[in-house]
């Protein structure tokens, strides 16, 4: 991923790109969540970018940040250009929702369910927003930093 491509994204989405950096060769851009779908369509379909693969979708909980506690992180790969790109979208705790990209990439369906399950971030427009790794009766979202690591919620209590 060279800087021309970053500049191209920057010029097209002026103001929506909050930050971009390059750490250990990983190109990263941070964007506002309102341009998400439009930007991702551009990343996927523009012939100079061509990020056809959504390789990974996850979230990070930065508990101590004031305005945007969570970040949803997307990892893209372009087979044609052999490039990777990371896109991060900050989300506040009060409005813990983001648009679903499962209409653009089918693989996002399960990834988004996993993020909902473990972080409690809701994806608008997702066809099937259920828990995936844990069971429906589970209370809370265990990968949030304020969920205690030693807390147990077994579905079936101890025998005897």
């Amino acid at each position: 991923m060279d800087s021309d491509q970053i500049d191209k994204i920057n010029s097209k989405y002026k103001g929506a790109i909050l930050d971009s950096h390059d750490f250990r060769g990983d190109q990263t851009i941070t964007v506002q969540k309102n341009v998400l779908i439009e930007l991702f369509k551009f990343l996927r379909d523009d012939p100079e970018l061509n990020f056809k693969f959504l390789m990974d979708l996850t979230a990070v909980d930065y508990l101590n940040r004031k305005d945007s506690r969570f970040e949803v992180v997307y990892h893209f790969y372009s087979l044609q250009h052999n490039d990777r790109l990371r896109v991060k979208v900050p989300i506040s705790e009060d409005d813990c929702t983001i648009d679903s990209v499962s209409s653009l990439w089918k693989t996002a369906n399960w990834y988004e369910r996993e993020v909902w399950d473990l972080y409690g971030i809701k994806f608008n427009g997702h066809p099937d927003m259920r828990r995936i790794l844990l069971y429906e009766e589970f209370k809370g979202h265990p990968l949030r930093k304020d969920y205690p690591i030693n807390k147990r919620q077994p579905l079936i209590g101890p025998l005897n």
């Binding site: 250990r24 390789m55 990974d56 990892h75 087979l79 089918k106 369906n109």
Partner: protein
Amino acid sequence: MSDLKENLHTDHMVLNMGPSHPATHGTVKFLLTLDGETVVDMTVEVGYLHRGFEKMCESVSYSNVFPYTDRLNYCSAIMNNIGYALAVEKLCDLEVTERCKYIRVVTNELARISDHYTNIAAAALELGALTAFIYFVEARELVWDLLEKVCGARLTSNYIRVGGLMCDLPSGFNDDLEATYPKLDKLFDDVDKLLTKNRIFLDRMRDTGAISKEEAISWGFTGPCLRACGIDYDIRKKQPYLVYDRLDFDIPLGTTGDNFDRYLVRMEEIKQSLKIIKQAMKDMPEGPINIDNPYLRIPSKQDVYSQMEEMIAHFKVVIDGVKPPVGEVYYATEAANGELGFYIVSDGSGKPWKCRVRPPCFTMTGALPELCKGGMLADIVPTFDMLNMIGGECDR
């Protein structure tokens, strides 16, 4: 006639397949809606082996994560070790020694072979070919005997360390390898003869579970299942790590993307991996296996007991752990199943703030309903086998 129609059960049947079913290895539940033997609808439920991998990683030091990575894809534990170690090394911006790289390649490919053996053996077993299963499990035992000589464990190797390895290869390891090659080749030929042109096997595998290139990309397929569609994406070639760019090997590609192509790709990859191991053993240089930085790689016991600085470093590394700089990295390696990515966020302390693993089989298991809908109930078994869902990796 009308009377007969009234009494005939023509409504759909809902069937639970799993969570523990003799024809599916791994703990996963399919909720099937059947019209006769045709699959009308399918829901996959995973998570039975969820143990909170990420939460556990966030509570231990960087070096203590290794045993947890062993338990992701337990058929090829060393690959997970290597993927994680490379991610942490990228975060710390350090490069391991030449000998270490070669040893990592050798153990990585041994793990890939054992993973493919397991996958094909289990698939054959579930389609009724017990002999092929036994032959490949024997071959896998031979590979695991080699790995046991290297690190002392068959499954959960815990062999790789940040900045190096647990120990060097044992003396005479190349002779052991040389003695094993003919045995592996013989078993491979036997299974090849038993399966590849077997009419029953062909009928079950060919044209079942096929996926187009575009769909495979949209579903995030990687590894042998993506290459079976004819897409040339292997990270060992595209973004080489360790010393893969210096080794001569080919990437087999399929054409139709069905189960039989996935099988053929895996069979060819076994051959190519053996070729890689032979080259890597030949080119392997002598030298140290660990980097010379006691604050990143625990120094040898000899040095710890005799030198002050080493003793302090040992204490710091064990108590505080390795401390990478603040930042985040994503490192992708080509595991036996596909792209195994580690996304690590560091806050500068001795514990990872986040340690995410991108499991290759998770996305492919998500695509299973689409591959099976409209097909026969019996076709679920080979399709599920060839996607190679591994519970430990999928559910984390």
